[in-house]
């Protein structure tokens, strides 16, 4: 199993969610995060005062899928989150050792 973590632009969340549900992926964890990479923060000026955005607001989504589906999911997220611009984000894929469903105690891919 693989854990897929993607940091994307906030307004792309709905697109990604929709694209994932089209390939049958319905569950994910969504977090509001801030950070910066090549897309640096910027400043705005209002009445002479500067307002600096150091960290750019982003959305992080996390989901765990079976290893066979990982590539498909990564590609789906990539396509849906792509606006062709800087700051579209990154996708990380990590190995997952075990998954346990709390309610039933099911393990492995059955618990996904």
């Amino acid at each position: 199993m693989k854990k897929i973590e993607a940091v994307i632009k906030p307004f792309k969340l709905d697109d990604v969610k929709e694209a994932l549900s089209e390939i049958g992926i319905y569950g994910m964890t969504v977090t509001e995060v801030s950070g910066y990479g090549r897309q640096k923060g910027h400043k705005e000026i209002y009445r002479g005062a500067e307002y600096v955005v150091d960290f750019v607001p982003k959305i992080k989504i996390e989901l765990v899928v079976s290893s066979e589906r990982a590539d498909e999911v990564v590609n789906t997220v990539r396509e849906a989150a792509n606006s062709g611009k800087i700051g579209d984000g990154k996708i990380f894929v990590l190995p997952v050792e075990q998954v346990v469903r709390v309610r039933t105690g099911e393990t492995g891919t059955k618990a996904l």
């Binding site: 632009k9 906030p10 307004f11 969340l13 709905d14 509001e32 995060v33 801030s34 090549r38 897309q39 640096k40 910027h42 400043k43 705005e44 000026i45 209002y46 009445r47 005062a49 307002y51 955005v53 960290f55 607001p57 606006s83 062709g84 611009k85 800087i86 700051g87």
Partner: protein
């Protein structure tokens, strides 16, 4: 034998709980306590150890403490016992405890007990206030009643002689600490129905206070001893019953003692309590609405306690005289505002409103008595009063005086006065939205929004303005904003429809009563209708795209409306809860506000005039293409285009450009060369994929092929595409013009693929030009404007025309790792002003650092040839 008594208790208790679950047991708590009493009676009677101790001269009393003492025994409440001896405790008591308590423990009752002598008990009670409060609720069960009475007498005497002030102080401080730790329960997703503000502990505290002051025994005495009015007592009973029932069901579901009303159980408890969903509202929302109302009342009860303690104990003598106020009929007594007498109210009912103004202006709360009076005399507030112009003026002033720490508006709501002025408000009182997002019922949320708006008024002594302070300062009609905040969710009373639209409808009839000008009403309705616009756009649209800000600027239209809408959005989100308001949303929203403000201030892209112009253009394009292309698709295409482009390009040209775009396919670009009538100028329209440096490369290819550029414009043509227009002089080789264009086209294809293709053209750029006019030349200059636009750095280049000019500038920009998004290039005689809107290639935002700006400036200057006047010497000679 012992087992049997416990068994009987268990069986009877099960039956009682069953009856309760079926809704047949209104007096569950008391009966539950009595069942346990019965168990103790029989156990005491049967106990040899008990008899033994009495015979040996150690009589004792079995006493119930705490909630069990009050006979308020919920399903899994603790059973607190005190085994009280007169002088000393004999060792045989161990056996008795085993007989009495162990069977209960075995049956999983939560039993706590203490074995003490009277003396021990007294000294402990006055050392530890938590023990003292349980003793206040002590109730005799069985054994030697004399020991109980003698203990209680001593306790009472000691309390009133030596410990009164310190005990009351404890109640006060402990209450404050509890509210600090547990917070306002009525404003939580998972309220603590015991310890939170509005929880049962507030009632306990009140009862203890009454017991300390007046020796009362039972809850019923609260009315008889005039701690509560008859009506208040009835409300208290109703409130307690509701909360106890809730607590019982909670215990039943969780199968243990618990006071936190977890989110997961709320729906089930609502069902058990018999709530039904109707009119688009969930059963659980009705349930929580009721619960909030009941807890609100306990909060008021709590305030009575605190106010009384404050005025009796904590305020020194000199404050006890009553002081006059500026308003006749209102006085200040013990630091609280109140009416001088009831006759004053009857003579001038407007006092019922004026007291809130006085309270808000002087920041002195209404006394509990004054609140009662407003409530009791509320029938005097009739239409004549609420519609009188001076009443309306006062009402508006009060709205502007409500802050979070000083909540005059909330008092106005609980006394019923707010609803007299705005009856429509009743429909949202304690209206719950069942989710993790909304913390407050709609009415409290609305009031909180008003308070947050008022808090944007800069507090004195703060060194710098926050953005909110300075925007608030610029809002001229504060009342418009405050009314919008008060009424922005009024549409939630109509759950069937979209609440912002319904809200505007309902608010319209309210506002007509409040003496607003037509234009002000229009503004308030706009704010209500659009109060979600900014936050939705900030979180769901690409705010780094200029078009997003332009669209916002368009919809909002006026700077003053944008300011108010921004503050309303902030207040609304803040008043909703931490899910709706955090650094993350704050950043997004602020960014969108500042960018939209930039567009509105500049006016170029979002004025009414441009709006009309763009609509006209769109219609022309639709008309021109109606036979050729699908209308819906056409509209989508037009909507995705940059507004700047739509403003400056003619309808027919737009159609031609769409044609180019449609023919693009997998190619990097397509172009079309057209002749302008009666001139030797050729117009080249190029539609291409937005590859870095494309604009500069086109200019370079034209320069290489000796095509003289006289003007050019560059635009973004929807996401990922550019549309550039070049005005070029007719090629010198007039016979083979077609071939020249073909060669240029091939060159451009190669240049786009190979970054070094144009290197040889760079070398051909002249190093020096001599002016023919003979005037003293002005040197090249560059102006950088980084403030006008939030999205681009705007660069203006002043120089003289020469072959390859555009290429040399744009190439310098491209080599500095920037991208030209918009360009306006034109030549007048020989002096040139070219304007470029650029962004960094790496980060797709405008250039931020001074250092980078300086580098770009120098790169352009370096690329330009030196200007010299021609034949100056000759002229001098």
């Amino acid at each position: 034998m012992n087992k049997t008594s416990a068994d009987i208790l268990i069986k009877k208790r099960e039956d009682l709980i069953k009856q309760f679950l079926h809704g047949n047991e209104p007096e569950f708590l008391e009966k539950h306590a009595s069942l346990i009493d019965e168990y103790f009676f029989t156990m005491f009677e049967k106990s040899y150890a008990a008899r033994d101790m009495t015979i040996k001269g150690f009589p004792f009393a079995v006493i119930a403490l705490g909630g069990y003492g009050r006979k308020e025994q919920c399903i899994h409440s603790d059973i607190d016992l005190l085994i009280l001896f007169k002088d000393s405790v004999p060792p045989e008591v161990e056996t008795f405890i085993q007989e009495l308590v162990y069977p209960l423990w075995d049956a999983r009752f939560e039993v706590g007990y203490a074995v003490r002598s009277i003396k021990e008990c007294l000294s402990m009670a006055f050392q530890r206030f938590d023990i003292l409060t349980t003793v206040l609720d002590a109730r005799f069960i069985c054994g030697a009643s004399l020991i109980y009475t003698s203990f209680m007498e001593q306790f009472r005497a000691d309390l009133s002689d030596n410990h009164l002030d310190s005990t009351l102080n404890y109640l006060f401080e402990h209450g404050e600490k509890r509210h600090f730790d547990f917070g306002d329960s009525t404003y939580r997703i998972t309220p603590d129905i015991k310890k939170g503000f509005g929880g049962l502990r507030d009632y306990h505290t009140f009862l203890w206070y009454a017991k300390i002051k007046s020796n009362i025994m039972y809850r019923r005495d609260l009315e008889y001893y005039a701690f509560l009015s008859h009506f208040e007592y009835l409300t208290l009973e109703k409130s307690l019953n509701h909360i106890w029932k809730t607590r019982n069901f909670l215990h039943y579901l969780i199968k243990r003692k618990c006071d936190t009303l977890h989110f997961e159980y709320q729906t089930e408890i609502a069902r058990l309590l018999g709530y039904k969903s109707k009119d688009n509202q969930l059963a659980v929302e009705y349930f929580l609405g009721d619960l909030h109302t009941k807890m609100d009342f306990l909060k008021q009860i709590n305030q009575i306690t605190f106010e009384d303690i404050l005025s009796n104990i904590r305020i020194k003598k000199e404050h006890s005289k009553s002081l006059p106020t500026k308003t006749n009929g209102l006085i200040i007594k013990k630091r609280r505002l109140t009416f001088s007498n009831t006759v004053a109210i009857m003579q001038e009912p407007q006092l019922l409103l004026k007291i809130f103004l006085e309270s808000g202006q002087r920041k002195i709360p209404l006394s509990i008595e004054a609140r009662r009076m407003v409530y009791e005399f509320i029938h005097l507030v009739d239409d004549n009063l609420t519609k009188a112009p001076d009443s309306i003026k006062i009402f508006k002033k009060v709205l502007a005086l409500s802050y979070w720490e000083f909540n005059v508006l909330n008092v106005m709501l609980t006394t019923g006065l707010l609803e007299k002025f705005i009856p429509e408000f009743s429909a949202i009182v304690n209206k719950i939205q069942y989710n993790h997002y909304h913390l407050f019922p709609v009415d409290k949320h609305s009031i909180r929004s008003v308070q947050i708006i008022n808090s944007f008024r800069k507090a004195r002594g703060l060194p710098v303005d926050t953005l909110y302070n300075s925007v608030f300062k610029e809002v001229r009609e504060k009342n418009v904003l405050i009314f919008a905040a008060l009424l922005h969710d009024i549409g939630k009373s109509d759950p069937g429809s979209e609440h912002s639209k319904a809200g505007a409808r309902i608010a319209h009839s309210i506002l007509k009563r409040f003496d607003f000008k037509e234009i002000q009403i229009k503004d308030i309705l706009f704010l209500i209708k659009n109060h979600l616009l900014l936050i939705k756009t900030a979180t769901r649209r690409d705010i780094s795209d200029e078009e997003t800000a332009v669209l916002m600027a368009h919809k909002i239209g006026k700077i003053k409306l944008l300011r108010m809408l921004y503050l309303l959005t902030v207040a609304d989100s803040k008043a909703t809860g931490p899910k709706a308001w955090n650094k993350w949303t704050e950043n997004l929203l602020r960014d969108l506000f500042l960018k939209t403000m930039g567009i509105l201030k500049k006016g170029e892209l979002a004025s009414r005039k441009t709006h009309n112009l763009i609509e006209k253009k769109k219609n022309i394009v639709l008309r021109l293409t109606k036979d050729k292309w699908n209308r819906d698709e056409m509209e989508r295409q037009l909507d995705s285009m940059s507004r700047r482009y739509l403003i400056y390009v003619s309808g027919q040209d737009i159609v031609n450009h769409i044609n180019l775009y449609k023919n693009l396919g997998s190619k990097d670009f397509t172009w079309q060369v057209s002749k302008e009538k009666g001139s030797n100028i050729r117009s080249v329209s190029i539609c291409g994929k937005n590859k870095p440096g494309i604009y500069s490369k086109i200019a370079g290819v034209f320069f290489m092929n000796e095509l003289d550029i006289v003007g050019s414009q560059a635009y973004s043509f929807g996401p990922g595409y550019v549309l550039d227009i070049f005005k070029v002089k007719q090629p010198r080789d007039k016979i083979f013009e077609k071939e020249t264009w073909e060669k240029a086209q091939n060159d451009l294809t190669r240049a786009l693929k190979d970054d070094h293709f144009l290197d040889k053209a760079v070398k051909k750029i002249p190093k020096m030009i001599k002016l023919s006019s003979g005037k003293i030349p002005r040197s090249n200059s560059i102006k950088i404007d980084n403030e006008t636009s939030s999205f681009f750095t705007i660069i203006e280049v002043f120089t003289y025309d020469f072959p390859g000019l555009l290429f040399s500038i744009t190439n310098a920009l491209y080599q500095s790792r920037t991208d030209v998004n918009v360009a306006m290039v034109s030549t007048k005689v020989d002096q040139v002003v070219d304007v470029f809107y650029i962004k960094g290639l790496e980060n797709d935002t405008k250039i931020e650092t001074e250092q980078e700006l300086e580098q770009i400036k120098n790169a352009i200057l370096k690329s330009l040839p030196k200007i010299e006047a021609k034949e100056i010497k000759n002229e001098k000679n």
